[in-house]
Symmetry: C3
Amino acid sequence: MAKSKYYGRDMITTMEWKREELEDIIRLAREMKRFRYSPRFDNLLHRRTFMMFFYNPSVRTRQSFEAAAVELGGAAQYLVPEAMRLKSATTAGETIEDVAKVMSRYAVGVGIRRLEDKVSYYGEGNQMLREFAHYASVPIHNMADDKFHPYQGLADIMGIMDRLGENLKGKTALLSWASGALARSWCSVQEFAIIASIFGMNLRIAYPEGYDLDPEIMNFAKSQCEKNGAKFEISHDPVKSYEGVHVVYSRNWVSPNAYKNGVFQKEEEKKKAASYSKEWICSAKKMKELTDNAIFTHPMPIDRGQEVEDEVASGPNSIIYEVAEYRLHTQKAGMALTMSDLWDEAELEALNLI
Amino acid sequence: MAKSKYYGRDMITTMEWKREELEDIIRLAREMKRFRYSPRFDNLLHRRTFMMFFYNPSVRTRQSFEAAAVELGGAAQYLVPEAMRLKSATTAGETIEDVAKVMSRYAVGVGIRRLEDKVSYYGEGNQMLREFAHYASVPIHNMADDKFHPYQGLADIMGIMDRLGENLKGKTALLSWASGALARSWCSVQEFAIIASIFGMNLRIAYPEGYDLDPEIMNFAKSQCEKNGAKFEISHDPVKSYEGVHVVYSRNWVSPNAYKNGVFQKEEEKKKAASYSKEWICSAKKMKELTDNAIFTHPMPIDRGQEVEDEVASGPNSIIYEVAEYRLHTQKAGMALTMSDLWDEAELEALNLI
Amino acid sequence: MAKSKYYGRDMITTMEWKREELEDIIRLAREMKRFRYSPRFDNLLHRRTFMMFFYNPSVRTRQSFEAAAVELGGAAQYLVPEAMRLKSATTAGETIEDVAKVMSRYAVGVGIRRLEDKVSYYGEGNQMLREFAHYASVPIHNMADDKFHPYQGLADIMGIMDRLGENLKGKTALLSWASGALARSWCSVQEFAIIASIFGMNLRIAYPEGYDLDPEIMNFAKSQCEKNGAKFEISHDPVKSYEGVHVVYSRNWVSPNAYKNGVFQKEEEKKKAASYSKEWICSAKKMKELTDNAIFTHPMPIDRGQEVEDEVASGPNSIIYEVAEYRLHTQKAGMALTMSDLWDEAELEALNLI
């Protein structure tokens, strides 16, 4: 029985992992995809519990994390804040210290999801995860917060490599804002900027004026591009930004003015987004005429007809379903690497994970 | 490792399965009852996930499907529509195509429950299941919709055979409307009419004028009865309909006028049901004086005192608890046959399931 | 394959178990703690389902019971009353007889939690558990009702023995009322009084006038103390009551006047509690100056700053996290002893459990 070199580590964002480390996760995820349900991996979390703490409801994240725990021989618990009764600024309740320390006795890891509409300012969700991680003695896995969504980034890059190969140097990813009726978080698109830049892609980020993302994360992505000899560009042109790109990631996100008096302005953000030019859509025409036969990706749920045309989303260059599937495999890999003490030592050595 | 001849098939209603096929399921269910928790069957869904998508809350259905997945070596996820955020006529959201395709990546099968009060017209729930089945690459299992409830039907007939023997030719089942304060769906009673007629029983359906069931399903049942040389009768007499029967299934159901302007009229239906003669109850007196020592069945929950008298429901001729248990065994059988690729080939051959 | 001598037994309160029997559970819990996830215990509930029925939300209880079922090789289902549709004084629905009998077909045991704010008078929650136990053919495990909380008591005493040794004769436990903003149940403190007295401790119960606990349970504790040659005292002094004690259990509880017209007066109880002297807190000063280097325990969630000072709750003499962990181990032991038919006979003999 052995542990990987990543045993005990949190996964808050891929920003805090090196490229080689992320490649380790993806390599293992590929093995786990190929040998799904196999005895090689089906007992790594034997009888162990993974706690999933959802401030926000979730489709893919919940389904894939729960299935991941089961496929590794363990189980996941679905927890919601209504039952947790945490202390807040206005209500009596339990401290995160107490909750995190007790959970660490029952579980081998904790996943947390807390998005922009469940906090009173940008970054508060991520801050809570870090407080949890501070007090917990088991790894914290980010199931999407208001800044980051690490396994979505890992799944994106794994899906892209399937089509463009492992060496992404010289390939250009367009991360484009889109209209849409769902007032989306920054977490997925920011994580994509992070991981695409870590993996050496040229990064072009296109959005209407007034939709800047987190400058700290943009600076990180820019510096990664520079380090890798790749281009980092900002564009405000919904059409020209498509020129010559190999990957299009088209998604709505809210503006930096989304909070007023500590309240997330969902309806206002939707209204504002709807007022923008219809050209901020990923159309079949732009894909065909401007890109280098680009593949299309998206973290889902897709607002079809607003973020992307059906012809693209369901077309042969769309990798959305593979990427959704890769959430499962990357999470299994991340969970097994950080939480399992039941690895076969030879297996870890063969995979260079010890 | 082998698959049964039913691998990949949906279970939407028993109407779409032949009698021999349904007998295969019941035969396997009997084996699974006898060898519960045994190594013969306890790994057929090894580490696999079954998704349960509940538009309506559920007691037996949820408990038995979740236990079934676990007893087969897998696990079930409990999903509700509030977390799924599907597109609807009035709200932005995700398409069933996207949801079904992604779920097919995570799970080996999906169960769906959507009853009459969660749709805007009769049949819409079933339509949604069929749309799901169209896009999913894994089997869809009907956990009760507004038309059908296949595993309830299978459990009913299995329970009846326990008492009356495998050959039901010449035996008469009375399916009788009853008053009751819960405005019941058509799904269970319609499925019973279907499966009782497929298995060769004489079928007598009794209800007050104005409580006709789905004519398409009634026609199917009638034609099955004719094919089998069995009687098919409609009665509006709450007393005489009990004469000479071997099985009584007494249950409330709503009228065909339950929808107004796309809204299910629950309160109105309850009121209407309450206005009918108190004779529409399965009484101990009728059971004793009129039937041929009939057994009593019901899909539960029972509205005791309205649908049936306590003395009958808890009496020696009541098979309600066995039938409830058989939900588990028939579901295990159906799930293993349609979803498992881990059968022992010799086992399948011995059971004539390959 | 064998069963323990406790097979089939309910766990409603430790009052109904003898000291030697409770020692058996704790001894097994220690083994299970030491050999967690080990093959000795990891299949005792192989593929079996444990139903958890929560009228009240829960943190530790839910997490530890669900993990316990998984660690024993089974699974737990999370059920809520909204989905169960039980009959009540005012609504149509299913009888407890029907629910309990059906659940007994699907599961090997049922846990129920129903606290004071989900009933209309003190004791109604416990009464419901006993009705369930009457009809169920599988063991009922109390996950906290309005009178008792047996596994909290077992965990408390196990944690105390860790620090004070197995022989608690001559050791004094102070069970002290505290202010607090959460209007707490009597179940945990009453269970503590029961089990501490069974295990031979001197018991001192301190609270403001008007906060008497259940006289029947107080009489039981008193008689146990007498039988064991131990002291049983009631005090109304928030300071002097700390003198010379070895264990401090400081917690808020509601007054005996908490129900008015069948409704639990939560807000009124909170207001009343807040009006009491600030001295009703477990302070570092009292712990240091008055007690015999006492350990601090509490069932959590803790209202820090009201029930106890941070310095005590997070200090070296606090056993709150161990006790929380012991919930898991005692529950695993209780579940395996009452619900498993898969014991190795030699194992049971070695542990003197057959």
